[in-house]
Amino acid sequence: MLESELKVDGNAIGGLLREFFTVEMTAAESTCAGCGKVHVVGRVDVYMNAPGVVVRCPSCTNVLMRVVRGGGRVWLDLSGMRCIEFTDPEA
């Protein structure tokens, strides 16, 4: 299998993030806690053939986000993302 078949872009997690954040997130902007670069969520690197979803910074490969779902629970680690800016659902 080619590496390019394992890695997809952030649009692949659009549905998942909409469930958690209740708004469309693919246009949200995330700041990498590793290198400080800002990336639109739709353009980050996503690995889904894994025990969870792993989202990485396209600039430095730092893990931005990890999502594990199972047994009726979700574990969401955003420690690799210093900040995420998205449209206020109230606006």
Partner: protein, 201 residues
């Protein structure tokens, strides 16, 4: 035993296979590739394996030195937490007991660390006495990078996320420190027969 005779036996004794299938798992014949990040391609000249942490002195082998260590070929069933099980997989590598020979430690736990930053935690006793290997061949051929080559940890009695791909060493610890998946929902120990998938299982 050839493929045909094994297949024949399988049809006559279907229960023999299901007794090797932990709860919630299904059988696969292929070898699915799981990946949580870019595949590292560390040149063998730059590869090394290190025992570090709670030890008097680190122990390190180059690739050349590592390949001169006594090796074993084992056939094991492997169980991935994403629910596939693959029977009778054949691996060649160095037993972890061999790597720990002569090492004096008070540690009860290990963090295996890999190229690419992956880590996983295990009790030290789960790595010794013929329970774990650092494998560099699969099915008689060099382990492919997508499956963890040049070398991966092989701990077949635990869920396969414990069998860290691209492993570069073991850090001995006095405390059990959660690794990459264990710090985000996955079980600290991961026994497939007790279906220890997530925290609290």
């Amino acid at each position: 035993m050839g493929f045909i005779s094994r297949g024949f036996k399988g049809r006559r004794e279907p229960a023999a296979d299901s007794s090797r299938l932990p709860p919630g798992q299904y059988l696969v014949r292929d070898f699915p590739v799981l990946s949580a990040g870019p595949t590292p391609h560390t040149p063998l000249a730059e590869w090394s394996f290190t025992i570090t942490g709670a030890v008097d002195a680190d122990k390190t082998w180059s690739w050349e030195e590592f390949r001169k260590l006594p090796s074993e070929t084992v056939t094991k069933d492997i169980h991935c937490v994403t629910k596939w099980t693959k029977l009778d997989t054949s691996w060649t590598g160095v037993a972890v007991s061999t790597l720990l020979e002569g090492i004096d430690t008070s540690a009860d736990y290990v963090v295996a660390f890999s190229d690419g930053g992956y880590t996983t935690n295990l009790p030290l006793e789960d790595l010794v006495d013929g329970k774990a290997w650092v494998a560099y061949e699969f099915d008689g051929r060099p382990l492919e990078p997508e499956h963890g080559g040049p070398a991966r940890l092989l701990v077949p009695h635990l869920y396969f996320w414990k069998s860290a791909k691209w492993v570069r060493g073991l850090s001995l610890r006095n405390e059990d420190e959660p690794g990459f998946w264990e710090s985000n929902g996955y079980h600290l120990y991961g026994d497939p027969w007790r279906e220890q998938r997530y925290w609290g299982d």
